[in-house]
Symmetry: C2
Subunit: 527 residues, 2 copies
Amino acid sequence: MTITAANLIGSKPSNLGDATFSAINPLTAEELEPTFANATLDEVHNACLAAEKAFTPYRSLTPVQRASFLDAIADEIIALDNTLVQRAMLETGLPEPRIIGERGRTVGQLKAFARLIEDGSWLDVRIDTAQPDRAPVPKPDLRRTRIPLGPVAVFGASNFPLAFSVAGGDTAAALAAGCPVVVKAHPAHPGTSQLVAQAMLTAAEKTNMPEGVFSLLHGTTHEVGKKMVSHHSIKAVGFTGSLRGGRALFDLAAARPEPIPVFAEMGSCNPVFILPGAVAERADAIAEGLAGSVTLGAGQFCTNPGLTILDQSEESTALVAATARLLDESAAGTAVHHTIKDAYDASLAAAANTENVATLAHSDNPGAHESTSVHPAILQTDGDNYMNAETLKHEIFGPSTLVVRCNDKQQTLDVARQLEGHLTATIHGNEDDLAEYAELIQILETKVGRIIFNGYPTGVEVCPSMYHGGPYPASSDARETSVGTGAITRFTRPVCYQDFPQANLPVELQDGNPSQIWRLVNGNLEK
Amino acid sequence: MTITAANLIGSKPSNLGDATFSAINPLTAEELEPTFANATLDEVHNACLAAEKAFTPYRSLTPVQRASFLDAIADEIIALDNTLVQRAMLETGLPEPRIIGERGRTVGQLKAFARLIEDGSWLDVRIDTAQPDRAPVPKPDLRRTRIPLGPVAVFGASNFPLAFSVAGGDTAAALAAGCPVVVKAHPAHPGTSQLVAQAMLTAAEKTNMPEGVFSLLHGTTHEVGKKMVSHHSIKAVGFTGSLRGGRALFDLAAARPEPIPVFAEMGSCNPVFILPGAVAERADAIAEGLAGSVTLGAGQFCTNPGLTILDQSEESTALVAATARLLDESAAGTAVHHTIKDAYDASLAAAANTENVATLAHSDNPGAHESTSVHPAILQTDGDNYMNAETLKHEIFGPSTLVVRCNDKQQTLDVARQLEGHLTATIHGNEDDLAEYAELIQILETKVGRIIFNGYPTGVEVCPSMYHGGPYPASSDARETSVGTGAITRFTRPVCYQDFPQANLPVELQDGNPSQIWRLVNGNLEK
């Protein structure tokens, strides 16, 4: 399969614009063929209208039909084989095993949502049957299921060219829910995006999906995304990226005549608390695990541990020193795009130049190309300084962590209390630590989405129990997850039928439970 | 019990302000004793801070303890007996049976949420156990439950002095979830609000709830509410009222440094489609039912049928004429506040004065007092005119309906397609109608929250299957309901524990299911 380098309005290639761009190989700084054209505002409009037209026919399909589409997308992505793997490697500089692993996750997500909707229990069906003799007024028959919101705009993230991109989690969840999708491809990997989009359109054709169920738009400016989010046909937004970008889309969506929900996952510092017992028992192992987590994927994970909190003991000093040695010896990572390297260097320098912040290590090992090399680093400050310095509280996206040394338990709890919202927090400790620091868990519950014990925050399972989200600014809607099968509810809402004839009810609400799903009937959960 | 006429910051009366106001008896236009003082901005701040302080101790209580608080509130409301009923009647002009019925609903809601949290299955617990041998990386143990968001600001509605007010559905849901509540009392019924608030504080004392779990603030200006929604301690907002009011709070909340969710239920026209078969079979019954639904509670229901759609047949003309006769003969209703009467008269006049709109009836039967009398009315226009006249698309809050006569099925469907979001839609029809108008149901599903067949939209059951909400502008977040036990999720979010020791997990996540609740364990729902 070749890259045809066009915006795709439904199944139709469209290149109305003059402004073109190319992907850049981050390992060599060379431009990659072919060139892509930014979508014009007319093309955005056309894609959104096509999605609106597709909405009724698409949502009217059976869940089994929609599942066959998701399965076919997975199959077509696998069928791209080495073409996709090589292109993704060229555009992101990520190594082959990582791309293959991420492809597996992407395909797995699509299939997980396919199985979820085939079952149907996720619809949270609730039925309360009529009581015609109830006094003073009869009780009507009420039956509730969930329906899709409408066309969804999805923004591909730079750091996961497959799993959080064109056919990533947001797209899979929206399509599973019954929503057509318009994707804004991330300009760092347009060829990978194009290949996946073509695979999706092949799958749509093979499974007879309505025209317009999926469109792909390219764009290097904010205009394409702003137009998508403002378009009246779009009813929800999925975004993974920076706080600035996510907040801008959130503000735009909230200011619409008809506001729409924005599910933005906007990054996080993922504080790691290393408690005294853990320091005493496992300092070397923790130093190794922490350094590995900091440098994983060149630090380009939203769950990267950017903040490490320990006490002032000599043992803690040794643990930090060991971590610093490992980071100092680490190879430079390659950012997927030079803008990420530039932002990393700038935000790291701003933190390092803050008063009372020491740079314990900043590796100078050479990377593949200076324009994209991100050099692992570890900074250190004390609890007082951290709590007073606003510049230290922002995410530094890349392979670094800021160590905060606290005087005592009280200061450790104060640092925790002062945290903004984050995706995760991690506690390293033993049984005694947990007894002593019980309050820490209680505080962290209100600050983050996921709390990890004696592990590392990088690595996000795709499963029903996953919650990838957190209080603002980790995400724009803490009530929802962007990873795991729970992500489907974001793109749906309840609908309730009162006193409807059986034949006119959706099948999942009919007497006798023909779909054989879990339903809450007169207060009892049954199948 | 007497009305002490003070803002209540937690359990402490507080009257720092100079600006006072009184309730007005809508039946006589007389001021009622005592006077109330508007809360100052300092008092708002104090109430929000008290709620923040109460959050950790309150959410740390067991569900059974929180349920005992809700039950005690219900008991204390009942204990107010005739004092509460008489005061509510004086302040709203609503008749005794209605107040007693609404009290029953309010108490029922509190008890329904108490039973819901005692059971705990609503937490949507999901557990995926570890697979230490999984390749290439071990799978961690992940367990997910829900936790409360934090202090909630609730705005009492004018039209339901008990069920959507101080101890109404929003408050019950938030308290059940584990969120302290700060209520802004509606200035139309401050004495009723005060009595209920005192009952709540008595219940809080009897059940040993933390100080600050509940506060009541009075205010006749927007400043009190704006300060509440802007306050950093407040993490979510429940509102029932006008589109203008709800949107203003939504905009304010979205513009905060930390945006928070606003669950605003903002009214609706609740279109009623009367199809040809129903007209032929049941014209008189429908006219009677419709007129009764239009005038119920002086038209002061968010589900009031403000829009009625029929074809141009003679039979339909007769049905409309019969409805007009009934409305013309109806007694004037008494609005709970003169501002509602003023808004009703103004918006009815604006619609009636729109080109090609006929006033079929506008009852001139006298009401209790001219300052609050709302006179039932029925207007009529045609499909083309309706679709082109923006002035006809807004809710007229009061006892009126606008009849839209459509040329044919196509135009009926076009009118449906052009609808904004509404809480409900109603279809009157027989089996043939439903076969012929299958597309109408499909369209209405995307436009409203609840579809009623051969009934009337007024009357909202409180049960698990209820969905009281709808696409904007019916509500600001269509994914959630404001009535029924499902309303609790609004004030909660997931939290996920990875590889946690059993002893440090919340009880609902522990092995062996000590809470005996429904849980999704490794993909299987089990108890």
